[in-house]
Symmetry: C2
Subunit: 284 residues, 2 copies
């Protein structure tokens, strides 16, 4: 690629993505740090890997990606990522990405990239006014696990607004009002690139659980990210919205803000909400 941006695309080292066959095939070990404590790949890892593989294959920064989750790689699996560059235009590229383990499809992604001039970033809204990250309490998971290593250990999370607790269920028909927001920071990386935004934004179902006041776990059907500004930041504020529930499928939106109030991106996802989900694997 001759785009001047092609050499500036950032890598998200946590993924440890390795090219294996020219520019369109990559491999990623499902390390325990990319998995949940429950013994399967964290959805944020799958969409992040797709985003980075697609950026490397096209040489162009990602503007939008949707990842559909079909299977659950286990810790120790090796994931093969293949990028089909379906459209290469003067300024835009569009791809489909498949993630497989031993030939079985685990996730598939659609994405768009372009190299048009930037500097037109517009948010149309402003970041909520919340306390600074270090003035907010740590996020306490609604379940008790003590994993030696999982994506939990890659991601510092602090509750900035709202009640993201599950010990006092709401009554039927009650909906917790008000803002729900969380500060996040990656232990070993800034956040801004498509891959890092995708990794931290996979928390939307928490908003549906919080609004319902029920200790539900979510199995993501998809994860979708749209980029507004990829300039890196340390902490990000995730503004979490519950959009709706139907047939046990909860829809949620996550607006991603830099610590100084820049809009970085907007994520949306649908997840099956379950009460049986947050158990450690039987052999734990």
């Amino acid at each position: 690629m001759t785009d001047e941006l092609s050499t500036d695309l950032p890598a998200f080292d946590l993924l440890d993505l390795e090219p294996v066959d020219g520019a369109t095939t990559y491999r990623m070990p499902a390390s325990t740090r990319l998995c949940t404590p429950f013994g399967f790949l964290y959805g944020g890892s799958g969409i992040a890997a797709s985003a980075e593989a697609s950026e490397r294959a096209t040489g162009r920064p990602l503007q939008w990606i949707t990842t559909q989750f079909l299977g659950s790689p286990s810790p120790g699996d090796v994931i093969d990522l293949h990028v089909n560059v379906a459209v290469t235009g003067r300024a835009s590229s569009q791809t489909q990405v498949s993630g497989t383990v031993d030939g079985a499809l685990m996730f598939t992604s659609l994405s768009a990239h372009n190299v048009r001039p930037a500097g037109d970033e517009t948010a149309f809204s402003t970041m909520p006014d919340v306390p600074a990250p270090l003035d907010c309490p740590d996020f306490a998971e609604p379940f008790h696990v003590d994993p030696p290593d999982s994506f939990f250990s890659t991601l510092e999370r602090r509750v900035a607004a709202g009640t993201i607790r599950f010990d006092t269920p709401l009554g039927d028909g009650d909906v917790q009002p008000g803002l729900i927001a969380m500060w996040c920071r990656l232990v070993d990386s800034d956040i801004g690139s498509a891959a890092t935004q995708a990794y931290v934004a996979d928390l939307g179902p928490l908003a549906v659980c919080a609004r319902l006041g029920r200790p539900l776990g979510g199995t993501s059907l998809d994860n979708t990210l749209r980029i507004v500004d990829p300039t890196p930041t340390d902490w990000v504020l995730l503004e979490l919205d519950a959009d709706g529930l139907h047939r046990s499928v909860g829809h949620s939106t996550v607006k991603i803000w830099s610590q100084d109030g820049r809009p970085l991106g907007i994520a949306q996802q649908s997840a099956i909400l379950r009460t049986s989900h947050h158990q450690p694997p039987a052999n734990a």
Copy 2:
């Protein structure tokens, strides 16, 4: 399929979708009424066809769909739709759909379906308070065409709130504030099914144009729909939000409400915004 819902899935007659090879392959003529006045398939037609083909192939109602637009079928083309049912679980199905013309890929979709018990529909928000449809003015397009037939003639549109006009551009840095909303009605169909919601929700880029106060046209990269309640209604209110702009790509959200205030679904999309888009084709 033995699901009791499998025989109750509604058809969107406008699409004229015809099964051609068992349950997984369909064909749709790109009739002028499914196209824009500018000589290409309306994005809402592509996502609607994917949604209906996927529902028919799985026998299960759709909960979420994302369609990626890669090419532009012309009026008169015949579109072949192939559904790959990748996952069939006890309650859930997940598919990928491809739409091709003479073997060339025009759009591809990812979707999820399930037959869990409904009755849990929750919106977490309320419909904006706007005048009734017939008390709102017709939507005037920001360009002048007189097509004999196009998707415009399938869709009645009335401006319920905000300024969706393009004759008075805003100054640099100005952003039009306030609610933007539009009533829509299909001439020959109720709205509620995934296909009909997808068809009417392809108007999000208007929100970005309205906020910027510029007469831009949009080329959709994707269209994404999440279902909250498919019970049919006559008029729907589209609550339009501009989510962000970057590298000329505008992101938008459309909340879909029934006339009596039920949340039907939420749509989101990214589109390249252009000033050169809204011209009739050269041979018009």
